[in-house]
């Protein structure tokens, strides 16, 4: 179990609809919190990695602008983009920068101000996150792709719309407790089941909301972490994989192969298995995405994901608590900021500082962050 790189600071802005400020100011909110958490100064930082899906930004090449505003000039800075999994890909790059010895401390700053464009234009951009030659001309969109996976899961395993609704009910219950979430109302099973259709079989409450937000994760070498941090949280394992962007190249519609591969790689590197995970944050941009994550990560056998949620095993008191911060379904999904927000939740859990959502005695946590509809998969395992 390697313990070469640690998280020494985490921060997150509130995820909101229509942030009343610019992208630099949004980024600063997460940065300030993470720097205060790490109790370091900008002189301690060796490099910054800015993570954002640039099609939402009017600012071209935002890394320079953001690094300047954060005070991280003249250190090197660059952007890492993997759509919804940008910030965990940024963390993967930061890990290698630190482990290679190039830098001791690296700031990974994820942000997205989605409200700069209309929801419809946002869908158009997400549609073009598919194969623009052979998929986008049919008017494809993100919920449609996840909906086709829901249909695939239903038809293969007999899972139901109610199983998915139960995932939203759980997420909404925890969202009420999360001051930084965009959606903070409880949702009943009836409300989730009676909500209007989006892309069948997915309905309104099966989908997360667009949001503006920023996250910041500060990583350091183990030596530096011991020097500056009282409570470093180590990266124990990391896995990353890709899958064909055009869904016609996929082997199945009942799961995401990239998530499964990334999970296996992360477990192997960390020397742990699914049974060792105390708390997990998975990429629930849609309810079906969380269901598929249960199975990809081995929390349930393929097809048995519905039993986990029906038996409340992914609640805080269950066998494997998942998304007890409300998940993307409650927090919202500001593309470039999402992975960093998931990491923040796990780091707080492993420090025993997660407040009302604390999983007692959590020692090993997992983050599963997916880019596009299973184009990019990142899984990171953390430990104290």
């Amino acid at each position: 179990m390697p313990k070469d790189v640690a998280v020494v600071g985490v921060g997150q802005s509130a995820f909101v609809r229509g942030y009343p400020g610019s992208i630099r100011e949004l980024a600063f909110e997460a940065f300030r919190e993470a720097m205060q958490d790490a109790a370091i100064t900008v002189k301690d930082v060796g490099a910054s990695i800015v993570c954002s899906a640039p099609e939402y930004d009017k600012q071209r090449t935002p890394s320079g602008l953001i690094a300047e505003y954060l005070g991280l000039i003249p250190q090197p800075t660059f952007i890492v983009e993997n759509v919804c999994s940008s910030s965990t890909s940024g963390i993967r790059v930061a890990y290698s920068l630190i482990k290679s010895g190039l830098h001791d401390v690296v700031v990974v700053l994820g942000f997205q101000k989605m409200s700069e464009i209309t929801s419809q234009d946002s869908q158009e951009r997400m549609g073009r996150g598919a194969d623009i030659m052979f998929e986008s001309p049919f008017g494809t969109l993100m919920p449609a792709y996840y909906a086709m996976h829901a249909r695939g899961h239903f038809s293969k395993y007999g899972s139901t719309e109610e199983d998915l609704a139960l995932i939203r009910v759980k997420a909404a219950g925890y969202g009420v407790l999360n001051e930084k979430a965009v959606y903070r109302k409880a949702v009943t099973l009836e409300q989730a089941m009676e909500a209007g259709p989006v892309c069948s079989p997915l309905k309104v409450f099966d989908c997360c909301a667009n949001a503006d937000g920023a996250s910041c994760v500060i990583l350091a070498s183990a030596d530096k972490a011991k020097e500056i941090s009282k409570e470093p949280v180590y990266i124990l394992g990391m896995g990353a994989a890709s899958a064909p962007m055009n869904v016609t190249g996929r082997s199945t519609f009942s799961g995401l192969d990239c998530a499964k591969l990334a999970g296996q790689e992360a477990y192997e590197m960390a020397g742990v298995g699914p049974q060792d995970i105390d708390v997990a944050e998975v990429h629930d941009c849609f309810t079906i995405a969380e269901m598929m994550a249960y199975e990809a990560l081995g929390f349930a056998e393929p097809g048995k994901g519905p039993e986990l949620i029906r038996n409340r095993e992914t609640y805080k008191e269950g066998k494997i608590p998942v998304n007890v911060d409300g998940g993307l379904l409650s927090k919202g999904h500001p593309i470039g900021a999402t992975g960093g927000s998931q990491v923040r939740t796990i780091v707080l859990q492993l420090r025993d500082k997660a407040g009302a959502i604390q999983v007692p005695g959590a020692e090993i946590g997992l983050v599963h962050n997916i880019g596009g509809v299973g184009i990019y998969g990142n899984v990171i395992i953390f430990g104290r």
Binding site: P137, F138, G139, T140, S155, P197, V198, C199, T248, R250
Partner: protein, 136 residues
């Protein structure tokens, strides 16, 4: 003419596989197959990732396919608003998978995974060309 004629709205103008559009004009949906290693591709490719070759032959799909998965979307991205709602479907055809739309007249509640469908070429009034699926 190039690839910009594919679909009600294309996002690509030039492509080495623009012959795809010529096949649609002839009333056929076609894929490519590598003459060197026999790997078949849909979407069609000009280059073979299996053997690095580029000697491709075009083959028209024949026969009926089966629905792998589908969704009926109430919303559409910018540029497709007038089309909504519509049904997006993935079909297995001659051992390959093809993404497209179902014909708009086909009620979504009559569809199921595994159902037999056939492909039909659609020539749009503005000169664009595409394909759609119908129950077989």
């Amino acid at each position: 003419m190039g690839f910009e004629r594919f679909g009600s709205k294309s996002f690509t103008s030039q492509a080495k596989v623009a012959e795809f559009v010529d096949y649609l004009d002839k009333g056929e949906l076609a894929y490519t197959k590598c003459r060197t290693c026999s790997q078949a591709y849909f979407p069609p490719r000009a280059d073979c990732a299996n053997c690095l070759g580029n000697d491709m032959e075009w083959i028209a799909f024949k026969g009926n396919g089966k629905i792998v998965t589908f969704t009926h979307t109430m919303y559409a991205p910018t540029g497709f608003e007038a089309d909504a709602p519509y049904t997006i479907v993935v079909v297995e055809l001659d051992g390959l998978k093809v993404l497209g739309r179902m014909n708009k007249e086909v009620p979504v509640d009559t569809l199921s995974v595994g159902m037999s469908v056939k492909v039909e070429i659609v020539k749009l009034p503005d000169g664009q060309v595409t394909y759609e699926f119908l129950p077989a």
